[in-house]
């Protein structure tokens, strides 16, 4: 072929070809077309035809595009990846080694957040799971009641023994009914003479297992509680008594002088139940007890199981005036109203405000607060991770540029960044598991969950964690992936490249978010502790220090034992006071209908009673503000006198304490009438967060405990002496004691716990936020090294430079404070509402929180900014 006469193909054709033909085939295809062009001309076709054909062919190459696409697709998914992965991996590893600090912050922060979230989630889940394990738990309801009379109404979770049978017989919606009577701790004697104090002893109808379907290890659940004088033991109790669960059946157990046969052994009650059943005695053992026919008692828990598809609202409306179907006249006579409610059993633990619960209640508010804190912590940690990853990736702009030049396409870049973020987040996941495992035992002491650290092996937990982590990782990877991969590679290599500050707005938003949360948490923590403190130092109105309480279980014989108790204990040198009462503060009191005798007034009220003896008010340091204390020299004081508190005075409608003295009151606790001889200042005989209700003191032989006021020194010896004295009076009762201040303060345990938890997690959350801020400050400083260097050269002082770098971040913290404080105020107000005696949030608290947040931020940022300000300008300007 002669190369002399070269014909050039038409420009249009060439341009078309370039546009249409796939790049990978361009070279040879273009060559082919040109060769054809030559040949056509040489074979005499004519120039124009040849040109036309060239253009035609050029357009025709479009058919190759589909092949090209398919090829690319295959390549991406088959050939490339292994080699690319190892390259990415190497780069990621190198990056981690080069910036150990940064990565440590990043992975660590996320790991801590994940672990904390998991711990909180476990707690929240547990609290919410109370009473859900029973089969058909969504059909099981408790029937509490409210007794209302003019001026007040009181709620009771315990009602009469007549309600359950009435509900079962009168309403077809009721499948089964159950009564429970918690007797509490009882002295138990075995055949071989061993004695135990057994807690959580209950009486229950034979339908017990229809409601609380604990598994029977021995015995038949349908028959075990049918006969009188039989009982079922929990596994723990059986082991305690007989060592071997198998031998328990058929044995005889004596409680309070009566023999019972063990008719079954059942599994232990799960911790997330509002009762704990150690021993369940058959209801039939009560025989024909008159109290069971009385509608006016509040003694028994009543449950119903409704049929499926029952209209609950209608049923609840129906049963409201249940008692009116039976004793309406009596109720009206007393000027009261009995209202019955339908309470889902699942709501009892967290929502019930009917009082008299068998176990300390949880609080739904607390659960919400915890849930929110948990989510917030995760939120902060996740934001942190994203923020730091994003900032970091912008420093890699040059790397991205290089990759693009070499030929990486956008999707593989995205893949790389996503992959990296994913790997980092998975590392966090592993670290989170480790942290969780180590921290859990300590945490569980605060919270008391019945799990151990191996809960993380639970598949649900693991999957949840992985999903969370992956989610955060992907989120973190997306932003840099999308933004960076869109950079124009050339601009990377220009001198300004690599110092761009895209996404600054996003970062600022994230920082504000984190610190707002921190501010809220600081306020919350301060609130919780202040409230706790308030409750604990509140003047209780009685003396709880150095009070030793000896509970009396089983019988107490006033005749033979009263004098000895007063004398034997009173004679001990260390004892300053001895008194007996039906209960001690914090342990629950009796309540009875009470009214002013008929001839004067018809209003019947429900009042709380404590049955005491002469020295009670003195021993407990109650303050008598009108009238006098009980006095042995007045013979009528034995049973015929009342000491009432200020609230009772108000309740009966007397205008002053003095007016109350001398008034006569009739009590439903036996129908006796007695005269008010004195009025005492309110004291907290129930838990401190409740309003003080009216209380009446009367001398009667209902003895539940002996209280000894002891001297403060040499307590161990005192205990020994008391034990000896006890043995001399009560030879067959095991010696048991507790200190009133401990047992009373135990009420606060749930709040103290919560306070500790809130404190811990607040610190954690703030720590994580600070980590984030620190990392960002570091990047900001790094980015501005040149600027700082130049300023320094022109004479800026270290302090002004520090200020320059810090000011931006501090502005953000200011915004956080402005947003966070109102939100915090709302949150704590809601939480505080559950307390009858609460602190008032004051400006000082909020100011303090703001200052703390600010100080923390300043500290965090300053380290970096000072470092930057101190840098030697020659270093930073070296590369110019």
């Amino acid at each position: 072929m002669d190369s002399g006469s070269k014909h050039t193909p038409p420009k249009l054709g060439q341009w078309l070809l370039k546009k249409v033909c796939p790049t990978s085939m361009y070279e040879d295809v273009e060559g082919d077309l040109e060769e054809l062009y030559q040949k056509r001309i040489e074979s005499g076709k004519g120039k124009w035809i040849a040109r036309f054909l060239y253009i035609y062919d050029a357009i025709g190459t479009s058919r190759l595009r589909s092949i090209q696409l398919r090829r690319q697709f295959n390549e991406n998914y088959k050939k490339d990846h292994f080699a690319m992965f190892s390259n990415y991996f190497k780069i990621a590893l190198r990056s981690i080694q080069k910036h150990k600090g940064y990565h440590f912050l990043n992975i660590g922060g996320l790991a801590v957040g994940l672990a904390a979230f998991l711990m909180i989630a476990l707690y929240v889940h547990y609290e919410l799971s109370y009473d859900t394990w029973m089969t058909d738990s969504d059909r099981i309801y408790r029937i509490p009641m409210e007794i209302g009379s003019e001026g007040n109404s009181r709620k009771f979770s315990l009602i009469s023994g007549t309600a359950a049978p009435a509900l079962k017989s009168d309403y077809s919606q009721v499948e089964e009914a159950l009564r429970l009577w918690k007797r509490g701790t009882r002295l138990v004697e075995l055949e071989d003479g061993q004695k135990f104090y057994e807690e959580n002893v209950y009486l229950a109808d034979s339908t017990f297992f229809e409601f609380f379907d604990l598994e029977m290890i021995n015995g038949n659940e349908e028959a075990a509680l049918n006969k009188p004088n039989t009982l079922v033991l929990s596994e723990a109790a059986a082991i305690r008594y007989f060592d071997n669960v198998g031998t328990a059946m058929g044995k005889t157990i004596n409680i309070n002088g009566t023999d019972y046969e063990v008719s079954g052994v059942m599994e232990n009650t799960p911790g997330n139940t509002h009762h704990d059943f150690n021993m369940v005695v058959s209801w039939a053992s009560l025989g024909n007890w008159g109290a069971l026919d009385n509608w006016h008692l509040t003694m028994f828990s009543t449950y119903v199981k409704l049929g499926e598809n029952v209209d609950k609202a209608a049923f609840a409306a129906d049963i409201r005036s249940l008692a009116n179907n039976y004793v309406a006249d009596q109720i009206e006579e007393n000027g009261q109203a009995y209202i019955y409610y339908l309470q889902p059993v699942k709501d009892i633990h967290l929502y019930s405000d009917f009082g008299f619960e068998a176990k300390p209640s949880g609080s739904i508010t607390t659960v919400y607060v915890f849930g929110i804190i948990g989510i917030l912590i995760l939120f902060i940690a996740g934001l942190n991770f994203i923020n730091l990853s994003t900032a970091r990736s912008e420093m890699r702009a040059k790397e991205v540029g290089m990759r693009k030049v070499i030929g990486a396409n956008r999707s593989s870049l995205i893949g790389q960044f996503l992959g990296e973020a994913f790997v980092l987040s998975m590392l966090s996941f592993v670290l989170a598991l480790v942290i969780f495992y180590l921290a859990f035992p300590w945490y569980n002491e605060l919270v008391g969950l019945p799990y151990d650290a191996s809960i993380i092996l639970n598949p649900i937990v693991t999957v949840l964690m992985i999903v969370l982590t992956a989610g955060v990782g992907l989120l973190a990877g997306f932003y840099p992936a999308l933004i960076l991969s869109s950079f124009n590679p050339l601009s990377m290599f220009k001198s300004r490249g690599g110092t761009q500050n895209r996404g600054a707005v996003l970062r600022k938003v994230l920082v504000v978010g984190q610190f707002t949360v921190s501010v809220i948490l600081i306020v919350s923590t301060i609130t919780v502790f202040k409230q706790l403190n308030h409750m604990m130092v509140k003047d209780l109105g009685f003396n709880k220090e150095q009070m030793m309480v000896l509970p009396i279980r089983g019988g107490f014989d006033i005749e033979t034992q009263y004098e000895p108790v007063k004398n034997v204990f009173g004679n001990l040198a260390a004892i300053e006071g001895v008194t007996l009462s039906s209960a001690v503060p914090g342990q629950g009191v009796d309540n009875f209908a009470t009214w002013l005798p008929r001839e004067e007034n018809n209003m019947m009220q429900s009042m709380y009673y404590l049955f005491v003896e002469y020295d009670f008010a003195e021993t407990y340091d109650l303050e008598i503000i009108a009238g006098r204390d009980f006095d042995q020299s007045y013979s009528t004081d034995l049973g015929g006198a009342f000491l009432i508190n200020e609230e009772a005075v108000k309740s009966f409608g007397w205008s002053s304490a003095e007016e109350a003295v001398g008034q006569r009151i009739q009590s439903g606790a036996g129908g006796f009438i007695a005269e008010v001889v004195g009025v005492f200042k309110n004291f907290h005989y129930q838990s401190v967060d409740q309003v003080v209700d009216p209380l009446m003191l009367n001398i009667r032989d209902r003895v539940g405990a002996i209280t000894l006021k002891i001297q403060a020194d040499n307590i161990p010896q005192t205990i020994e002496e008391v034990e000896a004295a006890w043995a001399s009076i009560f030879p067959d009762k095991p010696f048991e004691y507790e200190f009133l201040d401990e047992s009373f303060d135990a009420q606060y345990s749930s709040f103290t716990r919560m306070g500790n938890i809130v404190l811990t997690f607040s610190i954690l959350a703030i720590l994580i936020a600070c980590l984030g801020l620190y990392g960002l400050a570091a990047f900001s400083a790094e980015r501005r090294t040149r600027e700082i260097g130049i300023r320094k050269v022109f004479g800026a002082t270290v302090s002004s430079l520090t200020a320059t770098v810090s000011i931006d971040f501090l502005k953000l913290v200011l915004i956080s404070t402005v947003i966070g404080l109102p939100a915090a105020w709302w949150l704590i107000s809601t939480w505080l509402n559950q307390f009858a005696y609460k602190i008032q949030p004051d400006v000082g608290m909020f100011l303090l929180s703001g200052i703390i947040a600010f100080a923390i931020a300043l500290l965090t940022v300053s380290h970096q900014s000072i470092k930057a300000a101190l840098a030697n300008p020659t270093d930073s300007l070296r590369n110019e």
């Binding site: 072929m1 190369s3 085939m25 070279e27 040879d28 295809v29 273009e30 060559g31 082919d32 077309l33 040109e34 060769e35 054809l36 040949k39 062919d57 025709g60 190459t61 058919r63 190759l64 092949i67 398919r70 090829r71």
Partner: protein, 110 residues
């Protein structure tokens, strides 16, 4: 044994490339095919067929040396792969089988 799907033009091109040895590049292949079959073909069809065959792994291609006549551009040379040879043989056998099934009388009718 499942016979691989091979279009008419694909088989034609494949056979042609097989017979050409060293010089099998797009324009040359086109000329050869046109000469043998007596029909004319679009260069695009030839290109498409060649690349499709390459996709199916019946052909492999190699870039040659830059040539002066093409202004420094390289040519793409195609050759058969083992799979390609196998595909051709399969088709040959298929055809023979089918031919054998045809009654004598039909074939020999003039």
């Amino acid at each position: 044994m499942k016979v691989t799907e091979l279009g008419a033009l694909e088989e034609l091109v494949l056979l042609t490339v097989a017979s050409m040895g060293e010089e099998a590049y797009a324009v040359h292949i086109k000329e050869e095919v046109e000469q043998q079959s007596g029909r004319s073909f679009n260069i695009s069809s030839i290109h498409t067929t060649l690349f499709r065959l390459e996709e199916k792994k019946f052909l492999q291609s190699e870039m040659g040396e830059p040539t002066a006549e093409r202004g420094g551009r390289r040519k793409r040379y195609f050759s058969l792969t083992a799979a390609g040879i196998q595909a051709l043989q399969q088709y040959r056998e298929l055809r023979n089988r089918l031919w054998d099934l045809i009654p004598e009388t039909l074939i020999n009718r003039r």
